[in-house]
């Protein structure tokens, strides 16, 4: 596996022009993530409406892997319910750590499987996962808040 496969065109496009970059005022879901091993950070903001992700933005600095992953991740989160989002993060984590294969026949996973190359670069797995873990943390805090309100 050549390093140019790691940096596929899909990844580079997302890196150069990432989708959903920005901040949201008073987001219902918010979390900050930090990659201890390289110093990258990310903030994720999401608005939930009728139990579904209505809007999602991220802001952060990082490498091509972490930025493209965040860009694709946010694209795919639109319209998902909280449970669907959590399940999706779980699925992604399994794929990116090499525990399961990336599905080859799924539209949703088509772009994401550009991250497949990361599996061979263990230190970079954290980069690819950062935005996903951060969102998960934000969702959990959101759920806790809601439980407390009830």
């Amino acid at each position: 596996m050549a390093v140019s496969d790691l940096y596929s065109e899909i990844i580079l496009e997302h890196y150069k022009e990432p989708h959903n970059v920005g901040e949201l005022d008073c987001p219902e879901v918010f979390a900050k993530g930090y990659n201890e091993s390289c110093g990258d950070d990310i903030k994720i903001y999401a608005q939930i409406k009728n139990g579904k992700v209505e809007e999602i933005k991220f802001k952060g600095k990082g490498c091509a892997i972490s930025q493209s992953s965040a860009s694709m991740m946010t694209d795919l989160m639109y319209g998902k319910t909280i449970d669907e989002a959590k399940e999706f993060i779980k699925q992604f984590t399994k794929k990116i750590t090499g525990e399961e294969d990336f599905p080859s026949d799924s539209d949703e996973w088509f772009e994401l499987s550009a991250l497949k190359g990361v599996i061979k670069f263990p230190v970079r797995v954290k980069c690819a996962s950062l935005s996903w873990h951060t969102l998960l943390q934000g969702i959990k805090e959101f759920e806790n808040k809601n439980e407390l309100k009830q």
Binding site: V3, Y7, K16, G39, A64, I65
Partner: protein
């Protein structure tokens, strides 16, 4: 100048292939590789002389003790310390600074006092002072930087004043390469009778550093950055200062008389070396010092200088590169960024070509903020590096750029 081929033969790791390419090691500012002489000295110690030091009356223990104390003597001579008692073995430079911050700092700092650092300190020379000044209600002050990454001494006479109780600064910056005018700062500080600690982690391995001619009060450095083993570092201190400070850690080897309620501490240097020391590490460091002396620090400095000039020249020719730090003299490292490409991606791609280079904040986050970047790429050199290593780096960076040119 010196026999580069022979030197490279001494470093077994340089024969390694990384992803089918010969290793090009450009991260000596983080840690250096080890010559056979050092590796074999450690091995020999464990095979022939291993015993605890200072308290055994049998042959092995005598041998271990004299090897250990000989390493102290070599270290003292290497930096021209006035006496061997001034050499305290620590784990690394970081521990040396913590020792002084805790021991000197806790005994001497009080509310309103100021400790002066610079804006280019390694976290190791920043956080210990944050911790102790916070505990004591003292304040940190910082010598600012000029746009080209040197110390801005314009206001030094305001920064050093009667509130200042301690000055601690880096000799050569590990992220900008700046060589600081420490003699001047020491002189000003001494005119106020303020002690100065020098973080010499990046200077002692690369040039002759003479503590007596610098007249610094404390100095720290790490063995692993000068061909020595991991886990061993040095704190140098003037005898009177060290002698008057309370101990940092308590334990075996550092006491004379111990009653249940109190103890009488041993003389220098043992007062600061509690517990069984890293005997093999000190011995290995001594052999690393022998190795450096054999080649000659002047030769190493000259070699490093040529490599850095060459690197500056070659790298400047790359489109879209930004090089940080002073343009004139600098330590043997170059920090830079390629426009639009994150340092970690640079490092991952270079690794495919066998090039080991550091990407990150280099434990100097305040400098990254000052440069307004998230991180930088840093190539750092030592006696085993060649111009060909730098050519390979340039070729590698060209490849990085090609890869990133796609997808747009």
């Amino acid at each position: 100048m010196f026999d580069q081929i022979k030197i490279r033969e001494d470093f077994p790791i340089l024969k390694r292939l990384i992803k089918n390419n010969p290793l090009v090691y450009l991260d000596s500012a983080a840690t250096t590789q080890k010559p056979l002489q050092v590796i074999e000295a450690i091995e020999k110690y464990y095979r022939h002389n291993n015993a605890n030091v200072h308290r055994g009356a049998y042959t092995l223990s005598e041998e271990a003790t004299s090897l250990y104390e000989e390493a102290r003597l070599k270290t003292a001579r290497f930096i021209n310390a006035e006496m061997t008692e001034s050499i305290i073995f620590t784990r690394n430079a970081t521990e040396g600074i913590n020792l002084v911050a805790n021991s000197w700092g806790r005994a001497n700092l009080k509310e309103g006092d100021e400790v002066l650092l610079t804006q280019m300190e390694h976290h190791s020379n920043l956080i210990p002072w944050q911790l102790i000044t916070k505990e004591k209600g003292a304040k940190l002050k910082f010598i600012p930087l000029t746009p080209d990454g040197k110390l801005d001494l314009t206001n030094i006479h305001k920064l050093i004043n009667e509130k200042t109780k301690f000055v601690s600064l880096v000799h050569i910056s590990n992220s900008l390469g700046t060589i600081n005018p420490v003699e001047d700062i020491i002189q000003i500080a001494h005119s106020f009778k303020i002690p100065v600690l020098l973080d010499a982690s990046q200077s002692v391995p690369h040039r002759r550093v003479d503590v007596q001619s610098l007249d610094c009060d404390f100095m720290v450095f790490s063995g692993h950055k000068m061909l020595g083993p991991t886990g061993i570092g040095v704190l140098y201190g003037k005898y009177n200062l060290l002698d008057n400070m309370p101990p940092f850690m308590g334990g075996g080897e550092m006491i004379n008389e111990v009653q249940l309620e109190w103890s009488d501490f041993r003389n220098l240097p043992w007062k600061y070396e509690a517990g069984t020391p890293h005997i093999a590490g000190a011995i290995g460091l001594g052999v690393a010092i022998d190795y450096l002396n054999n080649i000659g620090l002047e030769n190493i400095q000259q070699h490093d200088k040529e490599l850095v000039s060459y690197a500056m020249e070659v790298l400047s020719n790359l489109d879209g590169i930004e090089i940080y730090g002073p343009k004139d003299t600098r330590g043997s490292l170059v920090a830079f960024n390629l426009k639009g490409i994150h340092p970690h991606d640079v490092s991952t791609i270079l690794d495919e070509y066998g090039i080991a280079i550091r990407a990150g904040h280099h434990c100097t986050q305040p400098i990254m903020r000052w440069l307004d970047v998230a991180a930088t790429v840093r190539a750092s050199f030592y006696l085993y590096n060649t111009k060909s290593d730098i050519d390979k780096l340039a070729t590698g960076l060209q490849k990085v750029k090609e890869i990133f040119k796609r997808g747009s």
